[in-house]
């Protein structure tokens, strides 16, 4: 009898030791915030305000990202930013300016290399209230972000002849395909389409396609199709509703994700997330720094806000995400308080205040 009690107690203790540490749901979660340049600080403040009024259990750690030269002359991001990201594993980033001829590569590239951000995810959903010729768009583009045409390997062979190398590796292709299918499963998406040009680049895109097909075998609940890049472009502008999740190598992803952003209204309203190895995820707004309106309270925080909502969903806080997203869409649909680029005349702070008010009313 006593031995039974002893055994069950032992199993409890052993079980507890073996159980993986569950995500800290009760306490505050820390997120690294990188305000960025230009309109970055204003829109970051707006997002923080909205999160506060929604009482989201998040605390922000602000960090700055300016390229510094580390030992050996290699450019890198400031160590305190890296340390913060490694600890929190989640980041929210505003627009960063890339000075021309500064001698260092773009900040976005540095961040990508430092945290091995291999997947760029851009969900494109038509916003009610912001009319574009395309309605009912609801698709997600997942782009491989580390290799492909953007490997940066170029050389001048002889004067007047330049060669640029596109690199496709088995590992990277498999990784992005796995991420795409997992994303589809976690977000209740029904199909994944691989976009390629394997009839022309038979070996490289052929490898990418083969990996996608192999990974699809493990995800039988998700429909897998493959389509040529030109067919996708042709059909996308005629009927975007036929697409669901698209997965593709770097260059095609760059072009298609911007094309889809154009369908829903541009970069000012498109969220974006970068997923890295080791569980790191950085969500960002993809528009520019807009130096001409910086500091004038005219910026539109929608892109950063929707990216922050993506971040909440990634962290599992779906209800907060839904609340804030609904408030944002309702405000835009009402059309009473809109910033300049959405066709209204209000200030950024007024737009933010309106969303905060709606969020508070929802409770």
């Amino acid at each position: 009898m006593a031995s039974n009690v002893w055994r069950s107690m032992l199993s409890h203790v052993v079980g507890a030791a073996k159980r993986p540490t569950v995500c800290f749901r009760r306490g505050l979660q820390t997120v690294t915030l990188i305000p960025g340049d230009g309109i970055g600080p204003e829109i970051s403040v707006a997002v923080m305000k909205i999160f506060e009024s929604a009482k989201v259990p998040i605390q922000w750690e602000e960090r700055n990202v300016t390229a510094i030269q580390g030992p050996g002359g290699r450019w890198m991001i400031p160590p305190d930013c890296k340390e913060s990201m490694d600890r929190t594993l989640i980041g929210l980033k505003g627009p960063l300016k890339t000075p021309i001829a500064a001698g260092h590569p773009s900040m976005n590239l540095l961040l990508r290399k430092t945290f091995d951000l291999y997947a760029n995810v851009r969900p494109c959903v038509s916003i009610e209230g912001y009319k574009t010729p395309y309605t009912d768009v609801d698709l997600v583009t997942i782009r491989e972000n580390t290799e492909g045409e953007y490997s940066g390997i170029e050389h001048i062979i002889v004067d007047g002849v330049v060669q640029s190398i596109k690199l496709i590796t088995e590992d990277a292709s498999r990784r992005i395909a796995e991420y795409a299918f997992e994303y589809a499963r976690n977000n209740q998406r029904s199909s994944v389409t691989a976009v390629h040009k394997a009839n022309i680049m038979r070996m490289s895109d052929g490898l990418f396609l083969r990996k996608c097909r192999e990974v699809a075998e493990n995800f039988k609940d998700i429909k897998f199709t493959e389509m040529y890049l030109d067919t996708v472009c042709l059909n996308m502008v005629q009927d975007p509703t036929q697409f669901d999740v698209l997965v593709m190598p770097n260059l095609y992803g760059d072009i298609l994700s911007d094309l889809c952003a154009g369908l829903i209204g541009g970069l000012g309203v498109t969220p974006s997330g970068n997923i890295g190895a080791n569980g790191v995820a950085i969500f960002e707004s993809v528009h520019g720094t807009a130096p001409d309106i910086a500091g004038l309270d005219m910026a539109n925080p929608t892109a950063l806000l929707l990216s922050a909502v993506m971040m909440l969903r990634h962290m599992g806080m779906h209800d907060y995400g839904k609340k804030i997203e609904t408030a944002c869409f309702d405000t835009i649909r009402d059309k009473k308080v809109l910033t300049g680029d959405l066709g209204g005349k209000s200030k950024c702070s007024e737009f933010t205040e309106e969303i905060c008010r709606r969020v508070r009313d929802m409770d």
């Binding site: 050389h155 330049v162 060669q163 496709i168 022309i200 042709l234 541009g266």
Partner: protein, 389 residues
């Protein structure tokens, strides 16, 4: 044969007498077409009494059906063109190097060709370049021109579009140079040369000057591919200086795609390397109605090949009689214009436009229920009511 020649000459004579066709133009040796500006040999010299010979390669998918449509319309309109057909196909095992040589020899003799899409299968045995690439390289068809025009009577999300897309067709990303350095790591080379970039830029500016266009925009990704697209951009800028009357701009490819779906009216003539051209051709075709309505042509210094703008075999439609022959018919009209058969060219294109405008006979892709055959019959019907100039 004799009868056809006789008929051809009677038609020409009749045209000459009634003054309906540009008979004076037909007798002139030098033609006022595209190739004239390139300084090379131009289209076959006008022969007022014989038919023109044109190579025809139907290709795969719905190619044969579309070519049949063209032949029917030509027959009904008494067009003095004779087609030399070759069935070349990689997916249907009708390929061989001798066949390719025959096709190339015929194209070199006739100088003008009409082509469907020759499908390149994804699996390769030995060579990486498909037949289409080989034809383009051997004939040096370096420029692909797609004139995207909204069709009156068919409205899409963007109406009254009028863009020209000029694409370099022989190098760039389609160089077919790939290798597996280490198992699992594949390199694909993109080649950009100064000579070809200059050539396509000059072609674009010449085209713009000839057709009275005001702006040429170069599309690139030089912020990432600094050397390759940087060279392309530099060549375009150099050539732009020789044409002070034409405005020159440049735009990054992803921004260009975004602008095309938001505000396509800001563009006039676009010039770009190979892959971006493929993307933008299809995008723009989608904007005005799809792959079935946009014609395209490929030029080299000596040859001209007429085909559709967005090249897809459309295999799902084979045998179902649903393909839209508009693109191929308009391309055939362009070919007649190139051969200086102005009268017939206008006749065919006017008939096609009239059918589209009336809107009664429309194929599946434009929202109707008619078959290819119905559409061709409608076009033939409209041919008889030729407008008298």
């Amino acid at each position: 044969m004799m009868a056809a020649a006789l008929r051809g000459s009677v038609v020409t004579l009749a045209k000459g007498l009634t003054g309906t066709g540009p008979w004076w133009q037909q007798l002139a040796a030098r033609s006022l077409n595209m190739t004239a500006s390139l300084g090379g040999p131009e289209a076959p010299p006008a022969r007022a009494d014989a038919t023109f010979k044109v190579t025809m390669v139907p290709g795969d998918g719905v190619g044969p059906e579309l070519m049949t449509a063209v032949k029917e319309v030509f027959k009904a309109g008494d067009v003095p063109v004779e087609f030399e057909e070759f069935h070349l196909s990689e997916v249907q095992h009708m390929d061989s190097d001798e066949k390719l040589e025959q096709v190339l020899a015929s194209m070199k003799t006739n100088r003008v060709a009409m082509k469907g899409k020759i499908n390149t299968p994804m699996e390769f045995k030995g060579e990486l370049a498909g037949f289409e690439m080989k034809i383009r390289r051997r004939l040096d068809l370096f420029a692909n021109v797609v004139h995207v025009n909204s069709l009156p009577g068919y409205s899409t999300r963007h109406n009254n579009l009028d863009l020209v897309i000029i694409r370099e067709q022989t190098e760039g990303e389609y160089s077919s140079l790939e290798h597996e350095s280490v198992p699992g790591v594949i390199e694909c080379l993109k080649i950009i040369t100064r000579e070809k970039s200059r050539r396509i830029a000059k072609f674009a500016f010449d085209y713009a000057t000839k057709k009275g266009r005001s702006k040429v925009t170069a599309v690139h990704k030089a912020n990432i591919m600094k050397l390759a697209d940087g060279l392309f951009l530099q060549c375009c800028a150099e050539v732009a200086e020789l044409y002070p009357k034409i405005k020159y701009e440049n735009i990054i490819i992803d921004n260009c795609c975004m602008q095309l779906v938001q505000n396509p009216y800001q563009f006039d003539v676009l010039v770009m390397p190979n892959l971006y051209g493929n993307i933008i051709d299809n995008l723009a075709a989608g904007l005005v109605g799809g792959a079935g309505v946009v014609p395209g042509e490929s030029y080299s210094a000596e040859y001209a090949v007429f085909e559709t703008g967005a090249r897809h075999p459309f295999a799902q439609a084979v045998g179902r009689n649903i393909a839209n022959p508009t693109a191929m018919l308009l391309s055939a009209a362009n070919m007649l214009h190139h051969l200086n058969l102005e009268y017939h060219s206008n006749m065919v294109s006017d008939a096609v436009r009239k059918v589209i405008k009336q809107g009664k006979v429309r194929t599946r892709d434009l929202g109707g229920y008619s078959t290819t055959g119905d559409f061709v019959q409608a076009v033939v019907g409209n041919l008889r009511h030729r407008p008298m100039y």
